[in-house]
C-alpha cells in the first residue's frame, strides 16, 4: 500500500486507517458526524495527497488540454481553475478533474487517486500533439482546509491576502515558510476554504503549522468518510459512483462543463452535442427520503406503480439534515423536482422525492 506524506501523522491523531485507491488513508478520526459538522461550522483539515497531479507544458499544451477535456480552456488565464472531465471517446467519462492554468503554456491537471494510472495512460495515448506531459502525483502533496474559519486560520501562515483569492482561482507563493506553494480557492465540501499543494518534502511542516494555527479556531482532522458525506450534501459527483466510463456528462448534469463553443473540438464533442440536442433518457438526480431509511449505492428506484425507474449511485444519512439523501440515474419522465419516487430498502418501498441541489445550503 502507498502512503502519503501524512500517513504517520494520522496514526498519531488516532485516525482509523483503510485502503483507498491503493493508499493507506484515514477514513475517520473523532467520528464522521463530528468531523462533518466541524467542517460546516468551524474548520477541518483533510489529507488529499493521494490525488493525482499531471503537468502539461509547452507550445502544444493548450491544444492538447482543450482536446482531452470537455470544458473550454480558452476561458482560462494564468491563476484560474476549471472543473472539467475527460470524455472517453465512447460517450462516457474517463475521470473528472480540475484544470489549473499555472502560467502561459503550462497547465496542472488534478485527477482522482483511483484513476491516476488510467488517466496517465489515456493522456499518453491521445498525445498526438506531443505536448510535454509529466506525472507528478508521487511528488506533490495536497491538503484541503475547509470550513468557514479557514481563511482566518491560514492567514496566520502567509502574507498573501487570502480573502482576495476568488473561488476557482489560485495564487502561488510563500506559505508556512515554504516557497511556491499553490493556494487554491477550491474544495469538495461546499463549506468554503482552500486546497494547498506543495512538494512531499515540505508537506508535513505545512500540515503541522496549519494544525497549530487552527487550534484556537477548533480545527480537527477529517477523514474520507466525512469528505464523502460533505460532498454528497452538496451533490458533487464522485467518480466511480455517480459518473464513470458508461455515463455521459450530459446525463450526469455536467452540461455546464461540456462546452460546445467554437474552436473547442474536444473528444466526443459531436456525440455529446447531439445527445444534448436530442435529449437523454435518464438523468442523474438528487432525492431525499420522506420515510425513514438510508438510500445506498446500488439500491433500485421505482415509480408509484412499482416500475423500475433507476438506481442509486450515492446515498447517505445527511449529518446536517438528519435524513436520508441520495443521487441516482432516473428515467427522464420521473425527474421533475418534487416528484415522488420509491427507494427499495431491504425489500420495502420507501417514499422519497426529487429535490434540487444542493441538499444543504
Amino acid at each position: 500500500m502507498k502512503t502519503t506524506a501524512f500517513t504517520h501523522l494520522h496514526k498519531q491523531l488516532g485516525g482509523k486507517m483503510v485502503e483507498f485507491a491503493g493508499f493507506e488513508m484515514p477514513v475517520q478520526y473523532s467520528g464522521i458526524n463530528d468531523e462533518h459538522i466541524n467542517v460546516r461550522k468551524n474548520v477541518g483539515i483533510f489529507d488529499v495527497a493521494h490525488m493525482g497531479e499531471i503537468w502539461v507544458k509547452g507550445k502544444k499544451a493548450f491544444d492538447f488540454v482543450q482536446k482531452v477535456t470537455s470544458n473550454d480552456i480558452a476561458k482560462l488565464s494564468p491563476g484560474k481553475i476549471q472543473y472539467s472531465c475527460f470524455p472517453n471517446g465512447k460517450g462516457g467519462i474517463i475521470d473528472d478533474l480540475l484544470v489549473y492554468q499555472y502560467e502561459e503554456q503550462k497547465y496542472l491537471l488534478v485527477v482522482n487517486a483511483s484513476n491516476i494510472e488510467k488517466d496517465w495512460n489515456w493522456l499518453l495515448s491521445q498525445n498526438t500533439e506531443k505536448a510535454e506531459l509529466e506525472n507528478a502525483s508521487d511528488k506533490i502533496a495536497q491538503i484541503a482546509v475547509q470550513g468557514p474559519e479557514t481563511t482566518k486560520v491560514l492567514q496566520n501562515l502567509t502574507d498573501i491576502n487570502l480573502s482576495e483569492i476568488k473561488y476557482y482561482t489560485f495564487v502561488t507563493g510563500k506559505f508556512a515558510g515554504v516557497d511556491n506553494v499553490i493556494i487554491s480557492a477550491t474544495g469538495y465540501t461546499g463549506a468554503g476554504g482552500f486546497e494547498i499543494y506543495a512538494y512531499n518534502s515540505d508537506a508535513e511542516k505545512i500540515w503541522t503549522k496549519i494544525m497549530k494555527a487552527g487550534k484556537k479556531y477548533g480545527i480537527k482532522p477529517a477523514g474520507l468518510a466525512a469528505r464523502d458525506t460533505l460532498r454528497l450534501e452538496m451533490g458533487f459527483c464522485l467518480y466511480g459512483n455517480d459518473i464513470d466510463d458508461t455515463t455521459s456528462p450530459i446525463e450526469a448534469g455536467l452540461g455546464w462543463i461540456t462546452k460546445f463553443t467554437e474552436g473547442n473540438n474536444f473528444i466526443d464533442r459531436d456525440y455529446l452535442q447531439k445527445q444534448k440536442k436530442e435529449g437523454v433518457k435518464k438523468r442523474l438526480r438528487a432525492f431525499e427520503m420522506i420515510e425513514g431509511g438510508i438510500p445506498r449505492k446500488g439500491y433500485d428506484l421505482y415509480d408509484s406503480e412499482e416500475n423500475l425507474i433507476g438506481k442509486v449511485t450515492s446515498g447517505t444519512m445527511s449529518p446536517m439534515l438528519k435524513k436520508g439523501i441520495g443521487m441516482g440515474y432516473i428515467n427522464k419522465e420521473q425527474t421533475k423536482i418534487g416528484n415522488e419516487i420509491f427507494v427499495k430498502i431491504r425489500k420495502k418501498m420507501k417514499i422519497a422525492k426529487i429535490v434540487k441541489l444542493p441538499f444543504y445550503k
Binding site: N33, T229, P319
Partner: protein, 125 residues
Amino acid sequence: MNIHKNLKYTNDHEWVSVENGNAIIGITDFAQKELGDIVFVEVETEEETLEKGEAFGTIEAVKTVSDLFMPISGEVLEFNSELEDNPDIINKDPYNKGWIIKVAIENKNEIDELLSYEEYSKLIN
C-alpha cells in the same frame, strides 16, 4: 474496552441480559466503536417469534449497513423506540439506554450457550 461482567455475549458482538425471565439485547461497546456513528436502527419484527440466528432488524452507520441477529429464539416483545429518533444513544451508552430489543426467552439452554464475559473478552482481544 468496556465490557460488563454480568452479561452474555455472541460472536456477532451482541450482549444479552436476563431480566424477569426476558432477554434484553443490544450491541457491545466494541461493536458500536467498529460501526462508528450509528444513524439508523430499524426493527420491524415486534410481536414476531424468531429463531436464533434470524435477522430481527438492521443497524446503519454512516458507511455500513449490518443485520442484527437473534442471539436466542423467542418472541420480540419490545423495540427500544428511543432509538428511532436518537440512534446515537447506542454509541453513547450501548449497555443501558442503548438496548435494542426485549425477547421472551423460549429455551433457557440457549442463554447458557452464549459466550461468557471471559470468552467474549478473548474474542475481541
